[in-house]
Each structure stands twice: as structure tokens, then as C-alpha cells.
């Protein structure tokens, strides 16, 4: 029986000729990731077991990014715990605040994730690296601890849904609209326990940043991972960013899928997820009553990359945000920040009446740097709009693309740029 792309990568890392959906395997890990919230729990678990060393100091990445720069004493203690562990174990890929970025933007940029890898991360959005043709999935702190100690993790081999991507998106439609459209179609548990495998000629019309956004939100459909084939764009990206060798896996022609869904990019419209689930989607044309907005956040592991900032700046150039609007822009890494500065994007955001923050996950999870008050509404390019996610339990989050977020900041209501 043929294997999916995910199954082939897992088989190779388990030392097996082939695997089938449902099989339990133990796989070798190419990278184990943790952040300032999840790593301290993993480090304590290792201490509990008297494990004083890691399996490979080059294959662990520690990225304090959630409450960094430290938002309070307790989060500073967490970061201190991660820093001391990194120093003690001589972890190669520990990123102090000046080198840091939001983990899922930072690791591909630093060339730490490449095609053919098996990666676990104690952060649900670890599935982002599927954009490069890697198997990567989110786990908890205990799995991270076991992974750091042994270099291995157990998996149940997933079945898959195949998404056949065709057509070309219109001007203001980007990766975020594609994935919100898909989640709206299949639901927040539509791919539960499964792989989302994206194929088709339309992928050539999606930038790498679009693909990172799409793979990033596979978890919001319940998926174990999302994965893209490795084409010329992906190869060029890896050659530019990484010195590591990569390996290209392709699904067998007779691979078995639970379901096949065709997505025609040319028919998609700017799409917004209404509170309080990412599946509550509406296209911009389906919004009949004006939805007044108090705050706009542009950033996160989903949409804080350079393409995202360029799109937002194109919309905001020479405009002002609505009266009373708080626009918060967060480049996802230090390099993206510098690039945005060189391209004049930072100036555009500030002149439009926004603020620009150092990289942090802060507002996405209601940590700091943009927490919402009672009843407030936010258009956000982040990934979750659950009850209370960004602040008070009566506040509301509307998930959208950078284009929609920027236009909404100008208009003060949810809106999209005219095509």
C-alpha cells in the first residue's frame, strides 16, 4: 500500500520500510523545541528523573518568546530557568532576547528546520515547518523532556486529508484567507489526529510566507501536521537560509487518503473568523452589519513575516488609523524587524498612528502588549479567537489577514482593501 508524504518521513525516521495509519512507532528526532512557558515544565521533569544531559546539544532549540522581554517577576524566573539550563547544557540554539524572534518564524529563518526532518516542539504551532516539507508537530512539556533526553518520540502514524490546491489568488487574498477558508469548511476538529497534505499546481502561486501561515494553522483544524511538497521555491528558501542537507519525500501515487478536497484559490475572498472559534468564518462580502473595532494586531507566528508586513504597509501607506484605534505591529524576528526598517515599513506604521514592538507572542495569548478590556473587539492576524484568549472573557477576536487587519485599522470597522 502506498504511503503519504508524512508516512514516508515517519517510516524513514523509525527505520522501517513502510508504515500504515494507526501504527505506533518510535521515531528519531532532528530537532526538539521549547519556549519560555513550556520549557521550565520540561526542565523540571528532567530534573525529577535525575537526567543531567541532553541527547544532542545541536538538536535542541530554546526560544524564550511568549512573555519576553520579561513581563513580570514570575515570567523572568521562567526565562532564568531556561537560560541556566541552556548554559549548563551548552545548547547551541538558545536565543537570548537580542537574537530572538517568535519561534516558528525564527527557526526556518535560522535554517534549523529543513525538508525531511522530524521535529517536535512544546508549542502547538510547531506544525509550521510543514511548509518546508518537514514532519513537525506540537507536543507538551513531558514529550519535550523525553525528546531532549532520548532524541526519540513515539507517534501514532496519522491518516491524511489531501487538499488539491488549484488556481491563483486575487490581489488581497493571502495564505491566511486560504487556511481560514479551509478551517471554515472542515471545522476545528475536521482534521483531528490527521495530516493535512497540500498538493496541486496552485501551490506555485503561494509564497513561502503564505505556506508558513497555512501550515501554522493546521492545528486549528485539529491536525497532527500540515505539509507541503518541496518545490523550487522551497528549495530556494532552504538554500538561502540553511547549510543543512535536506531530503525530499514525495507521497506515493497510490497513497491512501481519508478524503480529498479541492481548493480553487481564484474563488477565495478575504476571510474573517468571528468569535469564538477559528471555524466561524465569513468572507468580507458576507458581513452585512458594520463590526466596530477597538484594536488591531499585526504579527505572531502566523502572520509576522516580511510579506505580511509589506502587505500591511502597502495598505497603510499615507493613511491614518481611525480615531481611538490602537494598531500594534510586531515583526516576528529581529531580522524581519531590520528588513522592515530598511524598507521603510516601520516608518509607514508609525506615521499611520500605529506602534511597533520588539518580537513577542505577547498579545496573541493575552499575555501582555495589547490585552483587551471588557467588551473590546480586536482584528488580529493571530491564530486563535477563543473566549478570553486576548484578555477579558467578554472581549472579541476577529482573525484575519494582514490586508484586512490594516484596512480595518484605517476604517475602524472590519473591512478589506478594494481589489
Amino acid at each position: 500500500m502506498g504511503m503519504t508524504m508524512t508516512q514516508k518521513i515517519l517510516a524513514a525516521h523509525a527505520g522501517l520500510e513502510s508504515v500504515v495509519a494507526g501504527q505506533l512507532i518510535e521515531a528519531d528526532l532532528d530537532l526538539v523545541l521549547g519556549n519560555d512557558i513550556t520549557s521550565p515544565v520540561a526542565i523540571k521533569e528532567m530534573e525529577k528523573m535525575n537526567l543531567n544531559s541532553v541527547f544532542n546539544k545541536d538538536k535542541i532549540a530554546l526560544v524564550p518568546d511568549h512573555f519576553v522581554p520579561n513581563k513580570d517577576i514570575k515570567s523572568a524566573e521562567h526565562c532564568k530557568c531556561v537560560r541556566e539550563f541552556a548554559l549548563k547544557n551548552d545548547i547551541t540554539n538558545y536565543f537570548e532576547v537580542g537574537q530572538m524572534g517568535i519561534e516558528h518564524a525564527l527557526l526556518p529563518e535560522q535554517g534549523l528546520t529543513v525538508a525531511g526532518d522530524v521535529i517536535i516542539g512544546a508549542d502547538s504551532h510547531t506544525c509550521t515547518y510543514g511548509a518546508l516539507g518537514a514532519f513537525s508537530t506540537g507536543v507538551g512539556s513531558t514529550d519535550m523532556a523525553a525528546g531532549m533526553a532520548t532524541g526519540k518520540a513515539w507517534f501514532k502514524v496519522p491518516s491524511a486529508i489531501k487538499f488539491n490546491i488549484i488556481g491563483k489568488p486575487s490581489k488581497w487574498v493571502s495564505g491566511k484567507d486560504v487556511i481560514l477558508h479551509i478551517i471554515g469548511k472542515i471545522g476545528v476538529d475536521g482534521a483531528l489526529y490527521k495530516s493535512m497534505e497540500f498538493v496541486g499546481e496552485g501551490i506555485a502561486n503561494l509564497s513561502m510566507d503564505d505556506r508558513f501561515t497555512i501550515a501554522n494553522m493546521a492545528i486549528e483544524a485539529g491536525a497532527k501536521n500540515g505539509i507541503f511538497p518541496v518545490d523550487d521555491k522551497a528549495v530556494a528558501y532552504m538554500k538561502e537560509h540553511s547549510k543543512r542537507e535536506f531530503k525530499i519525500y514525495e507521497a506515493d501515487a497510490d497513497a491512501v487518503y481519508d478524503e480529498e478536497i479541492t481548493i480553487d484559490l481564484s474563488t477565495l475572498r478575504p476571510t474573517i473568523a468571528f468569535p469564538h472559534l477559528p471555524e466561524n468564518t465569513k468572507t468580507i462580502d458576507e458581513i452585512t452589519e458594520p463590526v466596530k473595532i477597538d484594536q488591531v494586531v499585526i504579527g505572531s507566528c502566523t502572520n509576522g513575516r516580511i510579506d505580511d508586513l509589506r502587505i500591511a504597509a502597502e495598505v497603510l501607506k499615507g493613511k491614518k488609523v481611525a480615531k481611538g484605534m490602537r494598531l500594534i505591529v510586531i515583526p516576528a524576528t529581529q531580522n524581519i524587524y531590520l528588513q522592515a526598517m530598511d524598507e521603510g515599513l516601520i516608518r509607514t506604521f508609525i506615521e499611520a498612528g500605529g506602534i511597533v514592538s520588539t518580537p513577542t507572542c505577547g498579545p496573541c495569548l493575552g499575555g501582555y502588549m495589547g490585552v483587551l478590556a471588557e467588551g473590546e473587539r480586536c482584528v488580529s492576524t493571530t491564530n486563535r479567537n477563543f473566549v478570553g484568549r486576548m484578555g477579558h472573557i467578554t472581549s472579541e477576536i476577529y482573525l484575519a489577514s494582514p490586508a484586512v487587519a490594516a484596512q480595518s485599522a484605517i476604517d475602524g470597522i472590519i473591512s478589506a482593501p478594494n481589489a
Binding site: M49, S141, Y193
Partner: protein
């Protein structure tokens, strides 16, 4: 092994942000996390829950963030088992790994009501609603998962192996 407790009932897509809001993630102390368990979906939960009680929910329980703090806070409240139609996969893994028993049983997930007294036999997978007299057949844990739970988590299990 058997557990018995009173049921706290929830619906679809209970996410880890409502189980333990991120504003409390500057701590990783189970006792402190337990003080805020379920706070954004059920403010009274922590005041009413007793050791041995059971959470029953419908689809996709534990979706969202991978924070292990979510099952840790539930376990630290004394909850003996979570029953659901389906679980989000990271939550499922995390619960087994920290030794919080969880069971997928669609029939039980929809039939059991808030406040019912329920008994679960982990060896057979039989869930009995003592209040209504109904009983349901859940999936018993595979042997290796039972061992992880009996060892109070994956790390102890690895250590003792």
C-alpha cells in the same frame, strides 16, 4: 482500578485557554494552576470540585495551545478522569504523559448529565452512571498507557522501566 465521582459537564471544543488562561502561565506550580482551572468557562468549578470528581464533555476537548499546564491543573484539582466524545491530540498525549486518566466514549459523553454520580472501571473500560443506572463501554487503556498512568506519568514510567 475504579474511580467514582460527581460529574461536571461541558460542551464542544473546550480549549486549553479556558481550562487554564495564559495570564496564569507565568507559574508552572500545579497547586497554583489548580486555583484557576476552568476559570474562563466555569468560575464556580474550583469552588465545587472535590477529589475524585469527573469531567464529561463532548467533541474536541482540550483543543488549542499545547500547554501541559491544562491537564496538570485538572489533575491538581483532584479530577479522577475526563470523558469526552473526542479529545484534541496534544491534550490526549499530555494527559497520558502526566498520568491523568482520560477516555473517549461518545455514548457516555452525550448521555451523562451534570451532577450525576459516575463510576469508571479502567480495566474493563465500563462507565456506569449511578444516578440514571445507564452503563457504557469505553475503550480500556492499552497496556503501555495503563502502565504510564499507574506510574503517575511518562517520566516516572521511563525511570522505572
Amino acid at each position: 482500578m475504579n474511580v467514582t465521582g460527581k460529574v461536571f459537564k461541558y460542551g464542544d471544543n473546550v480549549d486549553t485557554d479556558v481550562i487554564i488562561p495564559a495570564r496564569y502561565l507565568n507559574s508552572s506550580d500545579p497547586k497554583e494552576l489548580a486555583l484557576h482551572c476552568m476559570e474562563d468557562i466555569d468560575k464556580e468549578f474550583v469552588n465545587n470540585v472535590k477529589t475524585g470528581d469527573i469531567i464529561v464533555a463532548t467533541k474536541n476537548f482540550g483543543c488549542g495551545s499545547s500547554r501541559e499546564h491544562a491537564p496538570i491543573s485538572i489533575k491538581a484539582c483532584g479530577v479522577s478522569c475526563v470523558i469526552a466524545d473526542t479529545f484534541a491530540r496534544i491534550f490526549y498525549r499530555n494527559s497520558i504523559n502526566i498520568g491523568l486518566p482520560i477516555m473517549e466514549c461518545p455514548e457516555a459523553a452525550y448521555a451523562i448529565n451534570a451532577g450525576d454520580e459516575v463510576t469508571i472501571d479502567f480495566d474493563s473500560g465500563i462507565i456506569t452512571d449511578v444516578t440514571t443506572g445507564q452503563s457504557f463501554k469505553g475503550q480500556p487503556f492499552p497496556e503501555f498507557m495503563q502502565k504510564i498512568i499507574n506510574s503517575d506519568g511518562l517520566m516516572n514510567y521511563i525511570k522505572n522501566k
